[in-house]
């Protein structure tokens, strides 16, 4: 890692965007992805622009449709205990609390987890399931990227160069989903997922709506709409059928954490368990 790194701390989004115009600049949130990547020589920015001094990026606030907007600089540790998150979007808390360990989550952010675009990003499955929207700003203006269009491949997202994520918005329409994030890893504490499966079900609506999303079993985090429809049509009684469909839909690879074969089988096991637990 170079020792002559420039470090800048702007206090507004516009300033942060302007600073990025210089080639070799990277934005920094918690740095828990960026700094290890720099140490490993996989990224080599010449200067870092820290976004944590920008006041507007620190809040979790309610939005007009009853949803929540989570500022880019909010650490995951705050997300997982936030009363509105726990009350209306508990699936996000379920996923957030599995990222690394508590000290890491004091720094790691939701936006950082998204921008890093890892296939194993734990919060990504909740955001997919909850149909979140990613708010971005750049020199050409602001736009909103629906989460289903966000992930393009390992480390690849729909962000254009120079686009800064300002917040992640959970729409009011997604409030009330319950369920669990079932996750296998090589050890219990602080490990990346070998397989992550989120199964959620709407609370109180009739007919029930279902959500199924997977981590670490495809080039991007996946949402399985077809499996959700199956469960919406037949309920938890179709858990095994849903498991089989999910097993076929995932596209895992073999790596140090597990083989493709094991991962695929585990998707089936966990989808079935998740669905049955909501039956």
């Amino acid at each position: 890692m170079p020792s002559d790194l420039d470090f800048l701390s702007p206090t507004s989004v516009d300033e942060a965007i302007a600073l990025k115009a210089v080639p070799g600049t990277a934005w920094l949130l918690g740095g828990t992805d960026l700094l290890p990547q720099m140490r490993a020589g996989r990224k080599a920015p010449g200067r870092l622009v820290d976004l944590k001094r920008i006041p507007g990026l620190h809040e979790i606030r309610e939005v007009a449709d009853g949803g929540l907007s989570i500022g880019a600089a909010v650490p995951l540790a705050d997300v997982e205990v936030h009363p509105d998150v726990l009350d209306r979007f508990p699936l996000l808390a379920e996923c957030a609390k599995t990222v690394g360990a508590w000290p890491l989550r004091q720094r790691a952010t939701l936006a950082g987890n998204l921008c890093n675009a890892s296939p194993a990003a734990d919060t990504a499955v909740a955001l997919l399931a909850l149909e979140a929207e990613v708010e971005v700003a750049s020199t050409v203006g602001r736009r909103t990227i629906p989460i289903r269009e966000f992930f393009l491949g390992p480390g690849l997202s729909a962000l254009e160069p120079g686009e800064l994520v300002t917040a992640v918005v959970l729409p009011g329409a997604s409030a009330g989903f319950r369920g669990s994030y079932l996750r296998l890893s090589r050890r219990k504490g602080m490990d990346l997922a070998t397989v992550g499966v989120l199964v959620g079900k709407s609370n109180g609506t009739l007919p029930a709506r279902w959500r199924v999303a997977l981590a670490a079993v495809a080039p991007t985090p996946l949402r399985l709409r077809a499996v959700e429809e199956l469960l919406e049509a037949k309920g938890a009684a179709a858990a095994s059928e849903a498991a089989e469909a999910a097993r076929l839909a995932c596209r895992p690879i073999t790596d140090l954490r597990g083989s493709a074969e094991y991962r695929r089988e585990m998707v089936g096991v966990l989808v079935r368990r998740g669905a049955l637990s909501l039956g």
Partner: protein, 791 residues
Amino acid sequence: MIASGRIGTDVPRVDGLEKVTGAAQYTADLKFPRLLHVAVVRSPHPHARVLDVRTEKALRMPGVRAVVSGRDFPLHTGIYLKDQTVFATDRVRFVGDPVAAVAAETPEAALEAAALVAVDYEPLPPIFDVEEGIADGAPLVHPDLGSYEVVPWIRPKSGTNVCNHLKIRKGDYASALAGSWRVFENVFRVPQVQHVPMEPHVSVARVDLAGKVEVHTSAQSPFTVRHLLAACFGLSHGDVRVHVPYVGGGFGGKAGINLEPIAVALAMRCRGRWVRFMVDRHEEFYATVVRQGLTATLVTGVDRSGKVQAQKMHYLWNCGAYGGYGVNIVRSAGYTCGGAYEFPNVEGDSIGVYTNRPVGSAYRGFGMQEIHWALEQQMDKVALEIGMDPVEFRLLNALGAGKATVTGQVLDEHAGRVDLCIRSVADEIGMDPGRQKTPYRGKGIACAVKAPAMPNDAASSVVMKFAEDATLEILIAGIDYGQGLMTVVAQFAAEALDIPVEMVRVRGCPDTDLSPYDWQTVASRQTWATGNAVLRGAEEIRRKLCDTAGEALGVPASELILRGGAVVHEATGRSLPLARLVMGYQFPDGHAIGGPVASATSYLPEGLLFLDPETSQSAKPVAKWTFGAQAVEISVDPETGQVTVERIAACYDVGRVVNPGLIRGQTYGGIVQGLGTGMMEELLVDTKTGRAMNASLMDYKIPSTEDVPAEMVVDFVETPQKDGPMGARGIGEHTMIPTPAAIANALYDACGIRISEMPITAEKVWRALKEKERAASEAGVAPAVPASVTA
């Protein structure tokens, strides 16, 4: 003479306050003026000839002070077998083998310059497996093996890849096998693992203008470092000074000599400057040292009563590229090859094989966890196959007083009681044979034994001296890297002299110029060996104090005792506080007697005898044995293969519990380390490139706090060790030896599968369960327990 109260009690760690406040200094905390930084040029090839090393460009880089390579330092080093040079000379033997090194004003300049060192290699065929390594015509990792200097009790085989071979021949194995009722043969494997100390290796060296070499290093053995540095650079021991500050974990990986020669080599080329070589976590994994791999083939012949009559043990050790230290693990595993059991007829072979993998070396347990992984699963399998309860089968075959080890040493009643340890843990976990079984819950047991593996003359010594206020200072050269040595040394001295522990200061960060000699902090030997030296020192101090006090009080010294910080004459009730004696006693008329009271004492194990070169029979090959056992209860998720250790019980015959809190800490730590190597650890080497594939904490996992078993029950038996300080014997390593095998045996109990190659990962369990189900359905029988259970 010996009072009581300070042994067997929870005396708080004497170094605790320093460590929790951060006052304790570790090597990397030390500040040096104008420090130079090091980067090492490492081999990218697992096996290659080095044709040329060109350093001119690197030398010309601004900020670079020295560049050194193999041709500059041709002498060999190695603690038992001198098979390694500071830098590769004509040949590299693993990916990571040092070829050259740079010292520069900044770490960045050092790295940049290292990249400018040009090396021409001619790749050679590598070997990674022991089976390939011992095959006829295998490429030789060390073609010059026959010319290396070696201690007489290690036997390398010139012209092969075998760096040591120890043979056990006891009784008549062939006839006993032929006469056996049933015979079982199985193969078990253990991969290389890394120590993962919290503090990676670091060494700082300077050669001053007068030529004296000074080193500060994170090491387990300051004197051995000095000894080997002197040999490696052709120096007088008197011109080498080694300091060891606090050490952040070693687990064997900092035994012997490690980074020090590279730091010293560079320091020689920039006289007067301090040079710091500090590896990062990545280098720590693949380029320092690792635990050796093992392939074990066991054959057991039993008679109808369940007594083992014939036992063959064939251990092939994957030593990696260098075996300087590892050769002694091969030896130790040889003379301990039968574990905690009495085998009357034995054919044992422990063979160390060079390969082009990372360098094998000492690791907590020194080969014992590896061989127990094999032996204890074998014992379980045999018991179950012949329809015997595994606990009863172990008790029937266990070593004990009057029984002979594989080397023919007949144990006496002081040797320790493995039978009591077995019963303790079996009771705790509830292993009675008639127990109710729950599907996918299982119980397993494994025994453990280990002796210190060290040269017969490995000694420890201490200096004890008083300050004016009667504070007792004890200089040791054993390293306290968390196991609590400094605390038990204070306890022994306080107990023997009947002074408060608070009056004792243990000077535990040795400096070879000032500290008394100690061989190494390894082999679970410090409490025992340094403890013995302390008791001898205390006796000498007691004698000196009583002599002076006797003269002062006008009574015979033989009538005086030490009590409560004073020398007391019980008959008259007269006494003198130590503060009036430790610097000499002054009479009312002004004349003084005695003088500053001090002692220098040592301990060297007594009566150890070499092994017979052909059969390894010996009446006393080692100083002592520590026996123990662990039993465990696990649950298995049959669909995911995940194994959860629910409860674990451990019991060891430690002779005497010196400090209950410290020994519990050792045991918990050992269990967790055992669980790590047993369930998740393996240093993977890509056999196409020779590169370590998981050399980072992201890819190589050790247990986290959340992986610690919910319940660990620890118990001790106290059969006093005859030559142990107040009866104590070693325990540091033993605590991690049986854990993986106990889990493996519990796994079989839970669901009828065996994992013969460590670690027991969820995916392996899942595969084995699937395989079992497939085999059962092919055979047309329903599996005993349903393999697919709904959560």
